[in-house]
């Protein structure tokens, strides 16, 4: 751990904090349908979309219709992507002649991309044609992110509205999110990333003759356009197998910094959108504060664990100490240009968010370094979180926190002016409990079935962690992996696909039921008996609830995986 490392981490969070308010202000205006500086350019296009699709933008939807519209859109998106993968060999833009994707892998990948998971049981450069990467995967990078943000907006409206039974219009939220937010930022981001060295072409793999005379085939393609939205939409699906550790996906320290900003900026800004819409920006900053604290703790934990390195290799005369000439520590699976600080930061952020991009191989982290990304996902990815999904997940925890506070003082709990009653608390618990049911249930299944055990790459407790991480990542719609696991089998393609569907939609439906029920309620003005939710006490309570729920649910499996591996590593036990 170095002073420069701490400085890089601190500067990153300062940049995020500085972007939150202006971006939040802009996003609030966009979703309220107010004019922005892009309106002259985009309003005609927006209206054209409504005209072709027959959508009346002024007509609002109740929560049930909002959810049905969202599900239908995702279903047809899934269908098109699946068909495209199955027939890529005969479709255009396939210069490398990739064959059709197998049915189970195509199903898994289509589910993965519509749910904003971007779990990849395939290597991009060896499996997918440029057409699928662009017209299939890139599209869902946009619309799955927009779906998440739209749902978050609907949920916020549930709190912000006074006795109204509608939550907005899904088609309008979707269109505005893509046109005014995701697309303009992606265009600028893609150009910046190309300047830093990410390729953007439709050419074939380039054959080079290396300095020593060997042949090196260098895969390329329309990379930058996908990477920009991959990060901005917290998708995380790489163009290449090695994801953001590949020099063509993340060539420099600046491209790395920029991608980390893209990854968190919108989720952080949504806390400000929330504050503005409920009429008190401090409500948003309280959520931001809880997220920031949990995130910083995670970074420092990984940074410390990875800096300590692997005690089992010092005997061979390997120097893992940090010095001005090397970062040292556990460098297996890491890139020299990022070093330890940027790897720790990236790994924390990508699992705080439901991004899942990786700039180093999590499978090769030290046990405690690998525990943090796993635990971050298990907490529900509410630390900034995926675009949209992070905010609505955090708000569900806020409901639980206020419910517990209400129990302690014996009053009906309130949050930002809405009374929380039996219906809301029941649905909230349902949304939160479905996640551990899926990831622990599937993990248990995989550890007793030969088909599950067959996928393990590492022996000992590390192998168990690989399985646990796979289902945690799939259920959490994260998409990162302990990538040694061989997930491209019938068993894993089907089970992880179901885990992804459960983690996305089985959480969304009760969450939207809460939103619908909240919107119908009257706004209660704060009184002397109201528990304030815009101060440090609330931040502490919220963090406490998140850690207690996560800790109680997941400590046993963490003890079986990373914690026991940590003690064995220090005892010198190898597998």
């Amino acid at each position: 751990m170095t002073v420069n490392g701490f400085l890089q981490i601190a500067l990153y969070f300062i940049i995020i904090a500085a972007l939150t308010k202006p971006l939040g202000s802009y996003m609030t205006r966009v979703f309220a349908g107010e004019r922005t500086f892009l309106s002259p350019l985009l309003l005609p296009l927006e209206n054209l979309f409504y005209r072709i699709s027959g959508v009346d933008p002024k007509r609002e939807q109740r929560w049930t219709i909002y959810v049905i519209a969202m599900l239908l859109f995702n279903f047809f998106g899934f269908l098109l992507l699946y068909v495209m993968e199955r027939f890529q060999a005969v479709l255009p833009l396939n210069p490398e002649g990739m064959s059709n994707v197998a049915p189970d892998l195509a199903f898994n990948t289509a589910v993965s991309f519509i749910t904003n998971t971007n779990w990849q049981a395939y290597g991009g450069e060896t499996t997918m044609s440029y057409l699928v990467q662009m017209a299939g995967l890139t599209v869902h990078n946009f619309v799955s992110a927009a779906t998440g943000i739209a749902l978050a907006l609907a949920f916020i409206r549930g709190f912000a509205r006074n006795s109204i039974d509608t939550l907005g219009n899904f088609w309008v939220d979707l269109t505005r999110c893509v046109l005014y937010i995701l697309l303009p930022i992606s265009i600028i981001a893609a150009l910046f990333l190309i300047w830093q060295g990410i390729p953007q072409n439709l050419g074939m793999t380039v054959d080079a003759t290396t300095l020593e005379g060997a042949k090196q085939s260098i895969a390329q393609g329309p990379v930058a356009s996908q990477i920009a939205i991959k990060m901005l939409g917290t998708n995380g699906g790489g163009f290449f197998n090695a994801n953001a550790s590949h020099p063509f996906e993340n060539p420099t320290a600046l491209s790395n910094l920029f991608q980390m900003i893209l990854m968190i900026a919108l989720s952080a800004a949504l806390t400000n959108v929330f504050g503005r819409m409920v009429g008190n920006q401090m409500q948003g900053w309280a959520l931001f504060g809880a997220m920031l604290i949990l995130s910083v703790v995670g970074v420092l934990f990984i940074y410390g664990a990875e800096s300590a390195g692997n005690p089992n290799i010092t005997a061979f005369g390997v120097n893992q100490a940090s010095s001005p000439l090397q970062t040292g520590g556990n460098m297996e699976g890491k890139e020299v240009r990022f070093g330890l600080a940027n790897t720790a930061l990236f790994a924390t952020l990508t699992t705080d968010a439901s991004c899942g991009a990786v700039n180093a191989m999590h499978d090769s982290f030290t046990p405690l370094g690998g525990l943090v990304p796993l635990f971050n996902i298990e907490l529900g990815e509410v630390i900034f979180g995926g675009v949209g999904s992070g905010l609505y997940g955090m708000l569900l925890f806020a409901i639980v926190a206020m419910f517990i506070a209400g129990l302690m003082v014996g009053r009906t709990p309130e949050y930002v002016g809405k009374k929380l009653e039996a219906q809301e608390v029941k649905m909230t618990m349902l949304a939160l409990l479905v996640l551990p049911l899926s990831n622990l249930g599937f993990t248990a299944l995989a550890t007793v079935l030969p088909a599950g055990l067959a996928g393990i790459a590492n022996n000992g407790p590390h192998g168990f962690t690989e399985i646990l991480y796979a289902f945690t990542s799939a259920t959490g719609n994260n998409g990162s992996a302990f990538a040694g696991i061989n997930a491209n089998t019938m068993f894993y393609n089907l089970t992880t696909a179901f885990a992804m569907l459960i983690g996305r939609f089985a959480m969304i439906i009760p969450m939207m039921a809460v939103a619908g029920s909240l919107a119908n309620k009257k706004l209660v003005p704060p009184s002397s008996g109201t528990f304030p939710t815009d101060n440090g006490l609330f931040v502490g309570l919220l963090i406490g609830v998140i850690l207690i729920v996560g800790g109680l649910t997941f400590f046993p499996v963490l003890a079986l995986g990373p914690i026991v591996e940590h003690t064995l590593m220090h005892a010198g036990t190898l597998f």
């Binding site: 017209a135 265009i187 150009l191 050419g203 020593e212 260098i218 930058a224 120097n319 499978d363």
Partner: protein
């Protein structure tokens, strides 16, 4: 309901056209016009031949060259398509070893690599020289890893250590804006400079 189905189908088509066709093709067009070097993979071309990409590492095994980091990339076995074989720095199939810290295979591999390096220099080995990168294509080594190899390379090329030291310090890139990332030495660029030095 019928309205919503119609809207869903139309929006899937519109979004595919806008974000899946128009957006990537427009970016490709702009990139090819304004930043053709980067957009085409930062290729290094010498005498009309493609040597490689300045961003992608290459396998170096000769004593005359600085070694890069170990690479865990693989390729399909030409004799058996269901199996893979080790193929370091295979830029058509990126990836890391994904071995955990308690893996016997990992520790044995590091031990073997360390023994080999100790033949050239008995000092402590910088950890990046014995660990595989995440991409398997890391173009860089740390300045410590470059210094570790200076004497071997100088001897193999009949250069003085000082000549190679000068070259290494010229090819050591500092942090971006003095703060971000880590100092690195790009192995391919350094080795090309070595070849040029010998030619002069």
């Amino acid at each position: 309901m019928v309205n919503q189905i119609r809207a869903a189908i139309v929006f899937v088509v519109l979004m595919t056209l806008l974000t899946g066709i128009l957006y990537p093709l427009a970016i490709t067009g702009i990139a090819q016009a304004l930043l053709p070097y980067q957009a085409n993979g930062s290729l290094i071309i010498q005498n009309g031949k493609i040597i490689g990409s300045s961003l992608i590492g290459q396998a170096f095994t000769s004593d005359k060259y600085f070694y890069g980091r170990p690479s865990a990339t693989t390729a399909t076995d030409p004799n058996d398509a269901t199996k893979t074989i080790s193929a370091p720095y295979n830029a058509a199939n990126s990836g890391g070893s994904n071995l955990g810290p308690t893996s016997q295979t990992l520790v044995d591999g590091i031990k073997g690599a360390a023994e080999k390096l100790h033949r050239d220099n008995s000092g402590p080995i910088p950890v990046d020289l014995v660990t595989a990168s995440g991409s398997g294509l890391d173009p860089d080594i740390t300045p410590a890893a470059a210094q570790f190899q200076i004497h071997r390379v100088a001897k193999a090329r009949n250069l003085t250590d000082q000549q190679v030291v000068t070259l290494v310090s010229r090819y050591t890139e500092s942090r971006a804006l003095g703060i971000f990332g880590e100092p690195v030495v790009n192995v391919l660029k350094l080795n090309m400079a070595l070849d040029n030095l010998n030619k002069q």
